[in-house]
């Protein structure tokens, strides 16, 4: 390569062909000469002459030479080709990320450069489209959850739970947190990390033999120091919890109820706002997002009006312009880090706006009818699967049948069974004994509307053969 002999940080001039590889840079050699002249610099390195020489890199970075677009494409495609995507299997894997059908109209809309390449809509007048889209997103989340207000998105489900708990601690000024152990283990880990800078006490309560969170355990430890009780429904085990019972118990002690939920399930299930819940949060991947190794998705957070000022994250509000025309803008920014600094409700700045807008478009495309079907078919297929698993010898189904789209089943030597199924191109689900040692040989399997009767029947047949 011709650059190798060339002393990058010395007194190089412009004449030695250095502009051969400058992808994405528009300045030509003439431009650079002229601009340097305007600035009064001899060469580009002059721009750095005030940096202490001790910290200057003494040679070139040891990274590969730049590639043509053609070569980059080939190289990255090769890596993609080394993965085995879900659709090369008959997959029943969910556990927090779900494979739903995505209408084809979604990708071209959300890929529009005007959305993709804009930033946070600080300047309302030239960002009305983004602001309205986010306002619609906030409205959708409120309609789904039955809550009063939603923010403009957080990072993901796990951090939205952590932010919800922090919010409850600010609201109540108490110092104890109780969570159900049937919350997604990834979310629990994230919560512990987020709280690790403080001296708050976190207690987990167990689940009963039916797999439901144990309300008696909650009764025992709920007290006036408790800020919140966090529950997931459908739980990590897929079970729909009796949220109202928990929230009314919590309320007796002035404890806030936080609910982690799956927004697709809410197309059928009662709105958390009608179950006494104070803060609803969760992950939005299911609303038109790809699985993509788990990111990016987005986190949502919705609450009651009375807690509005303690909410983290951006908010879009409706207002008017100086001609009294409807307009939108970012609002209540006095909660946020760029104004309040160390006293802000959160440090969040960038969020996951594009994913949130994507979910609004998804919800609009699917519409009331499409979403109801999506949830209904998922529910039915998962229960069909369950009923047929029941008939398989050696399979144990000990947990409640009140599940949405996934459930736990047990079989001796589960990991070996999962391996054998994998050889038959079936991904059975997630073995969960790492996170729940008490649920030895437990497998968490899910069905969404993307599964077919044939695929489920095939799974059952294959399983029967393996267990013979």
């Amino acid at each position: 390569m011709e650059f190798e002999n060339y002393n990058l940080f010395g007194n190089w001039s412009l004449e030695i062909g250095i502009f051969e590889h400058m992808p994405y840079i528009l300045n030509t050699e003439n431009d650079i000469k002229e601009m340097l002249r305007v600035i009064g610099a001899q060469n580009l390195d002059d721009l750095y002459k005030h940096l202490p020489s001790k910290i200057r890199l003494s040679g070139e970075l040891n990274i590969p030479e730049g590639l043509s677009e053609q070569e980059v494409k080939q190289s990255v495609r090769n890596l993609a080709g080394k993965n085995k995507p879900l659709d090369s299997f008959n997959s029943f894997l969910g556990a927090g990320l779900y494979d739903h059908y995505i209408p084809s109209a979604l990708a071209p809309l959300i890929s529009r450069a005007e959305f993709l390449t804009a930033y946070t809509p600080y300047q309302a007048e030239c960002s009305q489209g983004i602001l309205q889209a986010i306002y619609e997103y906030q409205s959708y989340i409120c309609l789904l959850t039955g809550m009063d207000v939603s923010n403009a998105s957080l990072f993901d489900g796990a951090s939205s739970l952590a932010e919800s708990v922090l919010m409850s601690l600010r609201i109540t000024k108490r110092n104890k947190v109780i969570i159900s152990s049937a919350i997604n283990p990834e979310y629990k880990k994230t919560l512990y990390t987020y709280l690790s800078g403080f001296n708050f006490k976190i207690q987990e309560i167990d689940f009963n033999t039916q797999g439901s969170t144990n309300i008696d355990s909650l009764k025992q430890i709920l007290d006036e120091n408790t800020a919140c009780f966090a529950l997931q429904s459908p739980s990590f085990f897929g079970i729909i919890e009796d949220t109202e019972k928990f929230s009314s118990l919590a309320k007796e002690k002035g404890v806030l109820t936080i609910l982690v939920t799956n927004p697709i399930s809410l197309c059928l299930l009662k709105e958390p706002g009608n179950c006494g819940v104070d803060i609803v949060c969760g992950d939005g991947q299911v609303l038109g997002g790809s699985i993509s190794l788990g990111g990016p998705s987005f986190g949502f957070l919705a609450t009651k009006n009375e807690f509005l000022r303690q909410m983290p994250g951006r908010l879009v509000g409706k207002t008017v312009d100086r001609e009294n025309k409807t307009a939108y803008c970012l609002t209540l920014q006095a909660r946020e880090q760029h104004i309040k600094r160390e006293k802000a409700t959160s440090n969040i700045c960038s969020n996951q706006s594009l994913n949130a807008i994507q979910s609004a478009i998804y919800l609009s495309l699917m519409g009331k009818d499409g979403l109801t079907k999506c949830a209904l078919y998922s529910l039915n297929l998962a229960h069909y699967f369950y009923e047929h698993l029941k008939e398989v010898e050696k399979i144990k189904l000990n947990f409640s049948q009140n599940f949405f789209n996934e459930f736990i089943w047990q079989v001796d030597d589960a990991r070996a069974v999962v391996k054998k199924l994998y050889k038959e191109k079936i991904i059975a689900g997630l073995t969960i004994d790492d996170s729940y040692p008490g649920l030895k040989n437990g497998i968490l399997s899910c069905c969404t509307e993307t599964k077919t009767k044939e695929q489920i029947d095939d799974f059952i047949e294959t399983l029967k053969n393996i267990l013979k």
Binding site: H21, P23, Y24, N27, D31, M35, V38, H50, I55, E65, E69, N78, P85, L97, A105, A118, Y119, G129, A133, I134, E136, D148, F155, A158, S159, L166, N184, T190, Y192, T193, Y194, S196, L269, K270, E271, S292, L293, G295, L308, L315, G317, V320, D321, R322, L330, Q337, H338, R341, E342, N347, C349, S350, Q352, N355, M366, G370, C374, L379, Y384, K453
Partner: protein, 482 residues
């Protein structure tokens, strides 16, 4: 133009038919679940596909974006987002993989993350990285929780974090989220860290300093090695907020500057799109002594196989579910492959060149916030213009009429009437000249008729928006019965 909300365009007769009906006998939800678990109604709109397409296409057109307008939003590094990165991040082999598939199914993804880590390690001097954080601020939280745990394990009694008064708001906010008291150190008259004041503020209880370099005035902290020495001498650590790393690619590294833990905003320096505010990615890098504290897992390689390594002795845990914003990582990786070792230096140089060019062309008409040389961005203090009757706010809004997104305004907080201009390396001299001309024109307009500027912008779909009213009477959602 029809500016109604999507909810107001609904027609209850419409039905979607995107998904197939399963070939099993369907039961009503109440036949499967207790009735008191079910909702009675879903107040969602029903629309045809064309209506939805038109609605969101029209919304998209009511915005400025990088692909349509010059977007010199300081501190945000609005550089061109190469299209090939979009194509590659949408490959089926990346989109449709589940983090709980076995590692044999994910080798390509793991290799990509592994390679990206190697590239960033070389570029920053930090031997290990975590890619869990979804943004710069979450990167800060990750890094500072590592700092906290490090001090805990080392049995260091620490309770304070130092930030300069020019710092990003996320720095003090992060410090609070880590349970630290924030100590603000005033900058000197040049806008740089005041070493005397720093010396007075730092003591044995100082856990860390959080710094961005170049700082938010676009200036290189020339005394960075002295800062490092002061902090380290007191047993503290240096946190590098990499929001402004763009002009230093291939020039220096955070490691050489003395930093211990850093984050890089992949959506700034490494060209991934900003998406109306996200998703981004905060890659967190650390020196060896902190690598035992990284979030779990990291990606390692054994016998030519890539795997998730959860064995991290003092790991802080997780800051989000799964492994981070993977498709953002794909884009950053493709970008770095394309640039290569020459390309990254060109980025830094041209970013710095472009900012200094604007500075030079405008410095006689707009005050520059500091006499020190600028790096990738230049901060103007529009006090002269304010005296003439038009604050920075008006200038920013007037730029919209000239077809440009305004610079960051009123930040950093220590500069009066600040406009922070970051052109990035991907803009042409012609674009910079147009910006300069427009700024000069605006300066004349202020002299002639400052009132006209109060009414700007004139050319946008809505005129100046009443933000005070929005905050006073929050209307944050549509209501079905309104």
């Amino acid at each position: 133009m029809d500016n109604r909300l999507i909810f107001e365009k609904s027609d209850s007769g419409r039905k979607a038919s995107y998904i197939k009906k399963p070939e099993i006998s369907l039961r009503e939800p109440k036949e499967i679940l207790p009735e008191n678990y079910l909702r009675s109604n879903l107040e969602f709109p029903s629309l045809g596909e064309l209506e939805v397409v038109r609605h969101y296409t029209n919304l998209s057109k009511r915005n400025f974006s990088l692909d349509t307008n010059f977007y010199p939003l300081g501190s945000c590094t609005m550089k061109y987002n190469p299209k090939i990165n979009e194509e590659l991040s949408s490959l089926e082999g990346f989109l449709n993989i589940h983090p709980y598939q076995n590692e044999a199914c994910l080798q390509g993804a793991l290799e990509l993350i592994y390679n990206l880590e190697k590239l960033l390690s070389e570029i920053t001097g930090m031997p290990r990285f975590s890619f869990q954080a979804s943004s710069g601020a979450q990167g800060e939280l990750t890094g500072m929780l590592m700092v906290r745990k490090y001090h805990k394990i080392m049995k260091n009694r620490k309770r304070k974090v130092i930030v300069p008064d020019s710092s990003h708001g996320t720095n003090p906010a992060t410090s609070s989220m880590c349970g630290y008291e924030t100590v603000v150190v005033e900058s000197n008259k040049d806008g740089l860290i005041d070493l005397d004041k720093l010396n007075k503020a730092v003591d044995a209880e100082t856990a860390a300093i959080m710094l961005t370099n170049p700082n938010t005035l676009g200036l290189f902290e020339e005394n960075i090695l002295d800062v490092a020495e002061i902090i380290h001498r007191n047993g503290g650590l240096l946190y590098y907020d990499g929001a402004n790393f763009n002009p230093l690619l291939g020039i220096t590294t955070p490691r050489l500057m003395g930093f211990d833990v850093i984050h890089l905003n992949l959506h700034k320096t490494f060209s991934t799109p900003h998406g109306c505010g996200g998703p981004g990615a905060g890659a967190v890098g650390v020196v060896d002594k902190l690598s035992d504290f990284l979030p779990a897992p990291v990606i390692d390689k054994k016998k030519n196989k890539f795997y998730f390594n959860y064995k991290i002795k003092h790991s802080i845990g997780k800051v989000r579910a799964f492994y981070g914003n993977f498709s953002v990582l794909v884009r950053a990786y493709a970008y770095l492959l394309r640039l290569g070792r020459e390309g990254v230096v060109r980025v830094a140089q041209n970013a710095t060149l472009n900012a200094n060019y604007i500075r030079e062309k405008l410095k006689d008409d707009y005050n520059v916030a500091s006499n020190k040389p600028s790096m990738h961005e230049v901060v103007f203090s529009c006090t002269k213009q304010k005296e003439k009757g038009a604050p920075a706010f008006d200038i920013a809004k007037r730029l919209i009429d000239y077809g440009m997104h305004p610079p960051t305004m009123y930040f950093p907080l220590i500069v009066k009437e600040a406009l922070m201009v970051e052109p990035t390396e991907t803009e042409s001299r012609k674009t910079l000249d147009y910006f300069v001309e427009s700024m000069l024109k605006i300066n004349n307009e202020i002299t002639e008729n400052a009132q006209m500027l109060h009414d700007t912008p004139h050319t946008t779909p809505v005129k100046r928006v009443d933000e005070v009213r929005a905050a006073r009477n929050p209307d944050l959602r549509w209501h079905p019965n309104k």
